[in-house]
């Protein structure tokens, strides 16, 4: 991170605050520069150099002496400025030494200088462009829209959508809700067979018969009423289990869901 970037101080005229004709040319202060290129442009300005025919060698020397001075004053200098200083030192040596005919990969000192000059020119151009842009016409500053636009009224028209399924399921669930709510406990006694009653019936039906017989056949007379059917079967099954446990009857079922057979246990009573 370099100085000036996060502060965003509005430097209107970079360099003006720093130049001091009575002194050595400028006050050493790296604060407020927007990076090494900015510092170099400030040096260009301070030394009234022409960017189009700039002597990069001269500029490099200026930069290096600036950094040197700043360091001698023990000012904090951000890394990018030092990196640039190191690079400029290298560039300087490349520019001062005659170019050796080397492999094409290596750019010449002149190439490097041209590149740096180009970057400076480009940044300067972008600054100029920003300036021209902001000095140009701007909406609500130099030209104005209508102050009281009537606007285009958007008339919103709601269109409701529902499909037949929505409608029918709403109807059904609405009606069903009422049906459920109508049922009150105790209003109609449900017929329920107790275990006791089932056992009494079973004992009566089985009697002394020791033949296997399906339990629902034995109870056939009680299964006609659909309301009673479940409770009769459940109670009779429970009773038969109880009787089997007591050793009164025997139960047999070939496999799940097959008929349940029952018979009096031989020798019992």
């Amino acid at each position: 991170m370099t100085q000036g970037e996060n502060g965003d101080e509005d430097w209107e005229e970079p360099g003006t605050e720093r130049t001091d004709p009575d002194d050595k040319g400028f006050i050493v202060d790296v604060d407020g520069f927007e990076g090494p290129l900015d510092l170099m442009l400030a040096l260009v300005r301070t030394h009234k150099l022409d960017l189009t025919h700039i002597s990069i060698l001269y500029l490099a020397e200026q930069y290096l002496s600036f950094i040197k001075e700043a360091r001698s004053l023990r000012l904090d200098i951000a890394a990018d400025y030092l990196v640039m200083a190191a690079w400029l030192t290298y560039l300087k040596s490349r520019l001062l030494l005659p170019d050796e005919p080397s492999d094409d990969e290596e750019p010449t000192g002149a190439d490097l200088a041209a590149r740096l000059a180009f970057r400076l020119k480009r940044l300067e151009a972008m600054r100029g462009a920003a300036e021209i842009l902001m000095e140009g016409r701007q909406l609500h500053v130099d030209f104005f829209p209508r102050g009281q636009p009537e606007g285009i009224t958007v008339l919103r028209e709601s269109v409701y959508t529902a499909n037949i399924y929505d409608l029918l399921s709403a109807y059904a669930s609405g009606r069903l809700r009422k049906v459920v709510s109508v049922i009150r406990p105790g209003r109609e006694r449900r017929k329920v067979w107790s275990l006791k009653r089932a056992r009494a019936q079973l004992e009566k039906i089985i009697g002394f018969d020791c033949q296997w017989a399906p339990i629902d056949a034995l109870l056939a007379g009680f299964l006609d009423d659909p309301e009673e059917r479940k409770t009769v079967l459940a109670a009779a099954f429970g009773a038969s289990l109880e009787m089997a446990r007591e050793g009164v009857v025997e139960l047999r079922q070939d496999s799940a869901f097959n008929p349940l057979y029952v018979r009096r246990k031989e020798g019992e009573k």
Partner: protein
């Protein structure tokens, strides 16, 4: 910019001032903006009237209302400044249920709907249904209080794709579709709906004006 011979500098200035203004401007304000003395008032009025003539027949007029001047779009073009936007909306559960009950039990009153649903029906629910254009007030029930009877409209049939209201599925079909439990009490009935234009025997006609007032939004389309 080319000089326009038909318009003076003062007129140009007034034009820009009135255009950019956020409210109609009176003579004093205009004069102040132009930094002129009161004796120029008359001249300003003349310029305003010249501008007014200039904009005659244009899509925008310079109008004077309550002693203030403003640009206004021509009244005959106001329809141009309206854009219709269709916003699809879904009906709430309560509205759907009420709609369905009206469809099956029509002609039916609010009290009857509430009896069937087992909950009070908010005014908004019926309003929304009227807005859909699917429900219409039919008449009044011949009982104390003369409650309004509701029924479905032809738009209802169109939207749900029925030819007649008799095509609404009955009890067996609802059961078949799995929407109604098989084990319903025998007294559970699904009525045969009737949306006929003629009033039922226990219905009275709505008073004049009621119908149109309540359905004006629906008819416009």
């Amino acid at each position: 910019m080319t000089e326009n011979p038909t318009i003076s500098t003062r007129q140009r200035q007034l034009e820009a001032l009135l255009f950019a203004a956020t409210e109609p401007l009176d003579l004093r304000t205009l004069r102040a903006c132009l930094e002129l003395e009161p004796e120029f008032d008359e001249g300003i009025v003349v310029d305003l009237e010249v501008l007014q003539v200039h904009f005659e027949g244009h899509g925008v007029h310079l109008v004077k209302t309550a002693g203030k001047w403003a640009f206004r779009t021509a009244i005959d073009l106001s329809g141009l400044l309206e854009r219709h936007k269709v916003v699809p909306r879904k009906l709430s559960r309560a509205a759907l249920e009420t709609l369905a009950i009206i469809a099956y039990h029509q002609p039916t009153t609010r009290a009857e709907i509430e009896e069937i649903r087992g909950v009070a029906t908010s005014k908004g629910t019926l309003d929304v249904l009227m807005e859909t254009g699917w429900v219409r007030p039919r008449g009044r029930r011949m009982v104390p209080g003369r409650p309004i009877t509701y029924g479905t409209s032809s738009q209802f049939l169109e939207h749900f794709g029925f030819d007649t209201i008799k095509e609404l599925p009955g009890l067996t079909e609802l059961k078949g579709a799995g929407l109604l439990d098989i084990n319903l009490p025998p007294e559970f009935q699904v009525p045969l709906p009737d949306d006929g234009a003629e009033l039922a025997q226990d219905e009275l006609p709505l008073e004049e004006g009621f119908y149109s007032e309540n359905t004006s939004e629906n008819s416009g389309k």
